[in-house]
Amino acid sequence: MFRHEIKEVLLLSLDTIRSNKMRSFLTILGVVIGVMTVIGMASVIEGLNRSFASGLSSLGSSTIFVTRLPQIQFGNLTQEQRRRKFLVYEDALALKEDCPAVAAVSPLSFPGLVTSPAKYGANQANGVQVRGVVADFMRIFDSPLDQGRFISDYDVEHRTNVAVLGSEVVDTLFPSLDPLGKTITWDGQEYVVVGTLQKVGSFLGQDRDNRILLPFSTVRKYYPNRRDIFVAVLPTSQETMQTAIDQIIEVLRRRRHVRPDQDNDFDVGTSDSISELYHSITGGAYMVMLVISSIGLLVGGIGVMNIMLVSVTERTREIGVRKAIGARRKDILWQFLLEAMVLTGVGGVLGILVGAGISWLVNAFSPLPSAVSVIWVVIAFSVSVSVGLFFGLYPANKAAKLDPIEALRYE
């Protein structure tokens, strides 16, 4: 029986919203803001999650990083940090020699800020990321060779001008040719392509396929001022990770003459510790999201309750008329409940649209990835409708309980 009324009531409540546009909008603003926050933040977190998950796996979950400066730090460097000695190639060698729990070590050297494109003939690849590595890099990072060979010990020893290209660089510079054996130019130097890498995807908006790997020593040769290097370490197994870390710390403290009462003047981190930190940050973001949206929904809900109470009063006579021609309590109850639910539902839809717009903007104009999450859309919509149901209950019940004759006599 009730089915016949739903359409009528839905149309009627949309009509009520339309005839009181401003009032309705202000009423549901809280719901709009709450839902917008959920959708916007959830889609950024969702985007981060996706790229982070794929990003982490391609780092290899058990990679250990050794750096001179803290790997994650909020705020400026301290005096002590600025005065720290640089890590050197020999440190990397020593780690491989002296740490039994370590399987492979690769120092990474950087050319610094170079904006010139890589070129082959008329083709140019912009924004390429250039790293100096050693042969062991292949074992540490999950970036399989596609063609040719990787950088060899010989290359590192003799500072040869050879290059291994990421898949995107290959696509840009050699759309139709075989890249192997070709000579590319980058920042005024020429390099012979000896190998190419398979596609690995992007991470935190950083395109890791748009990169060129050179011998560690070659980068150091051309960019002698860039003395800050990283060392990437692969432990013998997942189980020996902690042992490897302890051994690395011990070896480095000895080599860098750190006194027993002093703290480490370097940082050792793992991709696990990075992901832990990542999860604590996104966990915090989720909390902020929940708090903002709960406040929004609460404010919206109270607004809806208020407006529905006003509506019940304004329409007392209408309620009387409906009862006089045969509306039961539950008919009136559902009429007002549905109206409240349509109101917050419309707020939810608006919030979802604005949130999706924000997510799109973030994607287009910031390095952060974002993807609207279907689950959160469903959750946000259901919650906003439920807010209408919950906060509509009191006014709707008040309307349903009205005495027909008193409602009809209401002026």
Binding site: S19, E318, A324, I325, R328, L408
Partner: protein, 249 residues
């Protein structure tokens, strides 16, 4: 529905309605007993404050008496649940108000459809019956109009179409011409006359003797009591008499 002419459609026994205003007690109904049978046309008259509206509201199951018994089609109303009362208001009673009481945002057609919506009539049948009902009150060409696009007389005819749409046992009209000018009032009274001739049972409240003269029975109320209950014309029970024009003069 008890279409049996022998059984009263409406039967009241010693109805009281008492309002307490502070220490004072006002008896809007002061022991009212009467019965109304199938196809009667009853006018209720009386001075202002004599309890006419109160009585109509009780008969229409909108209000409950403080004391006494009220049977509609042999069912004791005081024993009915809320939903059953709603059902009776929907199916057995067609109420016509002095102030029309239409939904202002809905079209004439939708206003007439409303009682059918509340008893779950499927939409196709609902539309058909609502249209037929509007045609009956000569408003076939105004179905899409909202109340504020209609004249007073037209509004009251929409309200009558709404009252008729469920084929109620009885039509209750509380001063249906009270808000209309004389000519329009006559039009509405002709419509009631026609409905009565088609077999409907009508109870109508009015101040005016001219209007009461359309009825075949007049109940005079004073201070909540029946002062006089007179038969004006003998009912030729259920035989349609096409004398509309004569009655209007």
């Amino acid at each position: 529905m008890g279409k049996n002419g022998n059984r009263p459609m409406i039967l009241t026994e010693d109805l009281w309605k008492t309002y307490e205003m502070g220490s004072e007690k006002i008896h809007a109904l002061h022991g009212v007993s009467f019965e109304i049978r199938q196809n009667e046309y009853v006018a209720i008259m009386g001075p202002s404050g004599s309890g006419k509206s109160t009585l109509m509201n009780v008969i229409g199951c909108l209000d409950t008496p403080s004391q006494g018994k009220y049977y509609i089609n042999d069912r004791l109303v005081s024993e009915l649940s809320d939903d059953e009362l709603a059902y009776i208001r929907n199916k057995e009673i067609g109420f016509v108000f002095q102030t029309f009481n239409l939904l202002s945002r809905a079209t004439a057609l939708h206003n007439v459809e409303l009682p059918l919506i509340y008893n779950g009539t499927p939409s196709v049948e609902r539309l058909e019956r609502a249209k037929a009902s509007l045609v009956k009150v000569d408003l076939g060409d105004r179905m899409g109009h909202k109340p504020n696009e209609l004249s007073g007389g037209q509004r009251q005819r929409v309200a009558i179409a709404r009252a008729l749409v469920n084929n109620p046992s009885i039509i209750l009209a509380d001063e249906p011409t009270g808000n209309l000018d004389t000519a329009t009032g006559v039009e509405i009274m002709n419509l009631f006359e026609r409905l009565w001739e088609q077999g409907n049972t009508i109870v109508l409240v009015t101040h005016e003797h001219d209007i009461a003269a359309h009825a075949n029975r007049i109940i005079h109320l004073r201070d909540g009591r029946i002062e006089r209950d007179e038969i004006v014309r003998q009912v030729e029970a259920q035989k349609p008499q096409p004398q509309t024009t004569e009655a209007a003069t």
